[in-house]
């Protein structure tokens, strides 16, 4: 079963809710190895998205929804995560331009474009202890699931699961990008907050596909 506008809107709504719920956790993680604003930044952005989405034409295609997310995050989040997530959604929107329904191929393209957008702006590689450590395994797992002929819901579940373990894999790392890179060895033992928000957002995508809670 392909995923359409309802899924796209539900994904955004779930993302906003889970980011709001996890706001203090994201702040705490960012306090430990950054400057303590990641939860606030992301919540501010996604609340603005929810408000704007209510005004969007109900017939808007998934790409329109993602573009709205992109421009809203760019203009409300600030910090490093604003331009990074903003570019991710912008590129993701471009990858599914014109499509009303997204199949497995489209989803893999969406995720890959999002990841490439983050890399384009932030120049991070896997192992740098950034959100890329969640995005790249997610893209790879989605590609693999799609190659194995899994359903759209299964593809997104695979992506979310990979993002979650990718995020956990940042714990032992020394950071090479972002604020945590100032810390050297002292970042070891802490999880990168941006990788956690990425995992939350991808889990929201999977949940939106199954209608789970």
């Amino acid at each position: 079963m392909t995923l359409g506008r309802a899924w796209a809107r539900d994904w955004v709504g779930r993302s906003a809710r889970v980011i709001a719920e996890q706001r203090t956790r994201l702040i705490s993680l960012d306090r430990e190895i950054g400057d303590g604003d990641h939860g606030e930044n992301m919540e501010r952005g996604f609340q603005a998205v929810v408000v704007k989405l209510a005004d969007l034409d109900p017939d808007a295609a998934p790409a329109e929804v993602l573009k709205l997310v992109a421009t809203t995050l760019i203009s409300t989040v600030g910090g490093a995560s604003g331009p990074l997530y903003g570019t991710a959604y912008l590129k993701a929107s471009g990858a599914i331009a014109g499509l009303e329904e997204l199949d497995g191929t489209a989803l893999v393209a969406l995720l890959g474009a999002a990841r490439d957008g983050v890399v384009l702006r932030g120049k991070a590689e896997v192992g740098d202890k950034t959100m890329i450590d969640a995005w790249t395994p997610a893209v790879e797992a989605a590609g693999q699931a799609q190659a194995e002929g899994r359903s759209e819901a299964q593809i997104l579940d695979a992506a979310a699961a990979a993002a979650e373990s990718g995020s956990a894999s940042t714990d032992p790392l020394v950071a090479r990008k972002g604020r945590a890179s100032y810390l050297g060895e002292r970042a070891v033992g802490h999880r990168d907050p941006g990788s956690v928000s990425t995992a939350l957002i991808l889990r929201a995508a999977a949940d939106a596909a199954t209608g789970g809670t």
């Binding site: 303590g36 600030g78 972002g178």
Partner: protein
């Protein structure tokens, strides 16, 4: 958390209203998207300077808007880079036809958001250059970090590039001066206590009653190392050495020395630190010919201070001395 605020979500907007009411002839505060610019902007034919970044570092940057320094400042949320929209709005508002220089402290968020705004401004026909300040020697500048942070030395860049723009230098020349100042500036800071971001509600880091954080950033990012509290002279020596070594500053140099309070450090203590830094430099043959002591680049209510050193030459000295009229720095008019 004990703060003189109404609501963490409105503090920046309300402070901007205060700034507007306090400096009517000097500054114009625009809301939506929020920025501060010179009341007489755009100044036709003058290169315009725009800086900005997260709030919580006041008087940086809004306190440095005015004759001979910045044309506009763009405040983000506390400790969070502003988004491109207000940077773009400020850039368009102050362009006097001679182009705009963005002065950006080196943080991933600031760099990315200013970059985007510059692209958008160029698309509207405004010529934009950027200089990234990265004076903090506490951070290793290597492939394995986001590079050095921009800290209190940014004030030197804003003042001196501002004076160059005011005397009529063109965009290339102002950019070159700004880069020259940044390249000749080194800083390092120490924290005795942590700042509390209003929306976070808790101190940015935990620190013992007898500990200090050496190499602190201006956003409560932890520094190089945590050590036991020492006498002021020892602390000054500890952060002055890496500054001097790094450029390196050498015997015979003339320098501008800034002893910068991070928010909650009494002025009397800053002068104690200034005395030691001046003495230690003199002992190395380095002469402090210009100086600044006060809280110019702060980190909310953090107790601590930083030292910044700029190697002067005749031109930089003349530009530093040139008249400036802003809320936080004023002389000559």
């Amino acid at each position: 958390m004990k703060k003189l605020i109404n609501d963490p979500r409105t503090v920046v907007a309300e402070a901007l209203q205060g700034v507007a009411l306090a400096h009517p002839g000097l500054l114009t505060v625009v809301t939506g998207p929020d920025h501060i610019h010179r009341a007489d902007a755009p100044v036709q034919g003058k290169v315009a300077l725009v800086s900005g970044g997260g709030s919580g570092h006041e008087p940086l940057h809004g306190g440095f808007v005015g004759y001979g320094m910045l044309d506009a400042a763009v405040p983000g949320a506390v400790f969070t880079s502003p988004t491109p929209d207000p940077i773009l709005a400020a850039t368009l508002a102050v362009d006097g036809g001679a182009g705009v220089l963005h002065i950006v402290k080196n943080y991933t968020g600031d760099v990315l958001n200013f970059e985007t705004a510059a692209d958008l401004a160029e698309a509207e026909g405004v010529q934009v250059r950027a200089v990234i300040t990265d004076d903090d020697v506490a951070v290793k500048d290597s492939l394995y970090t986001a590079g050095r942070r921009g800290v209190a030395g940014t004030v030197f860049v804003e003042k001196i590039a501002g004076a160059a723009a005011q005397r009529g230098d063109d965009l290339d020349a102002v950019t070159a001066i700004a880069q020259r100042v940044n390249a000749a500036t080194r800083s390092m800071g120490v924290a005795l206590t942590a700042p509390t971001v209003p929306h976070a509600g808790e101190p940015s880091f935990d620190i013992g009653d007898d500990e200090i954080e050496i190499g602190i950033g201006i956003h409560g990012e932890p520094g190089r190392e945590r050590i036991a509290l020492e006498p002021a002279d020892a602390i000054v020596d500890r952060i002055l050495a890496p500054i001097v070594e790094d450029l390196p500053f050498a015997s015979g140099d003339e320098v501008l020395l800034l002893v910068n309070g991070m928010g909650a450090t009494p002025l009397i203590e800053l002068y104690v630190a200034f005395r030691r830094a001046h003495e230690s430099l003199a002992a190395q043959g380095i002469t402090v010919t210009r100086s600044l002591v006060g809280s110019y680049v702060t980190s909310l209510e953090m107790q601590g201070f930083s030292l910044s050193l700029l190697k002067l030459d005749a031109e930089l000295t003349e530009l530093w001395d040139a008249p400036v009229q802003t809320a936080a720095l004023r002389w000559g008019r």
